[in-house]
């Protein structure tokens, strides 16, 4: 196709947007709303996942070591635990440290109770963090079979909850995206029908003088794509404001901050490029595909 024809077709697409401005605006709104809903839910999910990962990283199994274990045996055990594939870190936590920190946590009255206890009743422990929390219980089981290990306490139930939260989020996200895409395509196909109707005379003549089907469809394709790109740009701005607003609120609220950990939230600037690309591509895609599918249907070219 020649350059002059290409620019002619682009011009036709633009004209058509203006000629059907009400319907173009409807498409614009529906793509905008869909992108916003999908975009914001994806952003929330990404951040929730990050928060959950943060919690996961903090959750550790406590491996208590039998009382009469020598230092040599202890080091041997540490090596064995470290060699397990799912183990991330192993930290030794001596009985003295444990005793000290326990005493700090107690009130004065409670401390009085222990004042005369010379013998430290607490065991030595390893604090073990894992790479994948989903198989933490398996890892705990393996550790518990090792020599010199007394007990292994791991927050497996908590881990299960985190994993199922992640899974549910995934399912909801997928459903939301699928539903929005279907709604988008239906509404855009109606818009295109109006656009086809407005141009039916031209299309009829185009067919008689031997225009190829592609030539007839391209303006509709461009019309949809341009509307999609504009909707994406608007959605991007709105998302930016909304995201930064919420980010600011969380940052300003110390109690929320301590729960979530601000390090676990992404600032918008960090994701701006990816969000922009995703919005533009999906906006243009939904617009263009939506119009061309229904254009071919209504044109019977």
């Amino acid at each position: 196709m020649k350059l002059s024809s290409a620019s002619y077709l682009v011009g036709q697409g633009m004209k058509s947007i203006w000629r059907n401005r009400m319907m173009s605006f409807a498409s614009f709104c529906i793509i905008l709303v869909s992108l916003l809903m999908v975009g914001i839910s994806v952003l929330v999910t990404i951040n929730l996942n990050r928060v959950i990962d943060g919690i996961e990283d903090q959750s550790e199994a406590a491996v208590t070591i039998k009382d009469d274990t020598t230092e040599e045996q202890r080091n041997e055990l540490k090596k064995k635990i470290e060699q397990l594939p799912n183990v991330a870190t192993v930290t030794f936590y001596s009985k003295d440290e444990a005793w000290q920190s326990m005493k700090e946590d107690l009130s004065d009255e409670q401390q009085d109770l222990f004042r005369y206890a010379d013998d430290n009743p607490l065991p030595d422990t390893f604090r073990v963090t894992v790479k994948d929390i989903r198989i933490m219980s398996d890892t705990s089981m393996q550790i518990s079979t090792f020599d010199y290990v007394d007990t292994v306490k791991s927050p497996t139930q908590f881990a299960d909850v985190l994993v199922s939260i992640k899974n549910i989020l995934m399912i909801i996200m997928t459903a939301v995206i699928a539903a929005l895409i279907v709604v988008c395509l239906i509404i855009i196909s109606n818009t295109t029908r109006a656009s086809v109707f407005a141009r039916r005379k031209e299309i009829n003549i185009m067919k008689y003088v031997g225009a190829t089907n592609t030539f007839i469809r391209v303006p509709f394709f461009i019309e949809g794509m341009v509307v999609g790109v504009f909707a994406a740009a608007a959605a991007l701005l709105l998302t930016k404001f909304a995201y930064e607003g919420v980010y600011g609120i969380i940052k300003g609220d110390m109690s929320l901050l301590s729960i979530l950990g601000i390090d676990n939230l992404y600032p918008f600037s960090k994701m701006a490029l990816k969000v922009t690309a995703a919005y533009l591509v999906s906006g243009a895609f939904i617009g263009a595909v939506g119009t061309s599918i229904s254009a071919s249907k209504h044109l019977k070219v």
Partner: protein, 230 residues
């Protein structure tokens, strides 16, 4: 060249529109197709443009065997044919120039060619002064001349005029047919469907009369215009 060999068309409603029609229109011919409404004239045109397919028989148009023509090749066929309609079918939002140029744009012609070809064709139909007018500002006869320019602009081998004078003043009808004859003299095959017998009698030439789906009459008769000239 248009050739029909034993062509029959039966619509899905059960109506037999054409019944074993044999017809040959050679390059450079000028033929009137006449017949009462419902006789099968429109079916004939639809077959040539491959809007519909023959139920049986073979249709060959400008070297394309239409029963074997793939859908994707239909544009190539139609680029060799110019069509003029009874209701003009000009695009009201475009000027005369744009209406004519539109055809060339659609077939992906170079813009340089469009700029030289369009004014030339408009001058052929005598509408130089109306180049930048909109169709609504023109009379029926002028609008049909624009439609004729549009049919001519991509230099088709065959022009099909479907009742081109049906919507314009009788006096101007002669002007349109005269224009078609001049186009024909330059080598373009012209097939004109009409039911105005006065016009046919006046111009004469090859007359194809279709009646109830069959060709009832296909002969060359002398017209009044030729007698006047002698």
């Amino acid at each position: 060249m248009v050739e029909f060999k034993d062509v029959s068309v039966t619509y899905s409603s059960g109506v037999d529109a054409l019944n074993k029609v044999n017809l040959k229109i050679k390059d450079g011919d000028f033929a009137f197709v006449v017949g009462s409404s419902g006789a099968g004239k429109s079916t004939l045109i639809k077959l040539i443009l491959k809007e519909i397919n023959a139920t049986s028989g073979t249709v060959i148009v400008n070297g394309f065997n239409l029963s074997r023509l793939r859908r994707g090749r239909i544009p190539a066929l139609r680029r060799t044919i110019g069509v003029v309609f009874q209701d003009f079918r000009l695009i009201p939002t475009m000027t005369v120039y744009e209406n004519v140029a539109f055809v060339l744009r659609v077939i992906d012609a170079p813009s340089k060619y469009i700029r030289s070809r369009v004014p030339y064709v408009i001058s052929l139909v005598g509408l130089e002064d109306k180049t930048n007018n909109y169709p609504t500002e023109l009379s029926g006869g002028e609008q049909q001349r624009v439609a004729l320019a549009r049919a001519l602009v991509n230099d088709p081998k065959l022009i099909i005029a479907d009742e081109p004078t049906g919507n314009i003043d009788p006096a101007l009808s002669y002007e349109i047919v005269d224009l078609l004859r001049r186009i024909n003299e330059c080598g373009t095959t012209v097939l004109m469907v009409t039911h105005e017998h006065d016009l046919v009698r006046y111009f004469g030439g090859r007359i194809i009369n279709i009646n109830k789906g069959s060709i009832a009459f296909d002969e060359v008769i002398g017209g009044a215009v030729d007698n006047e000239a002698q």
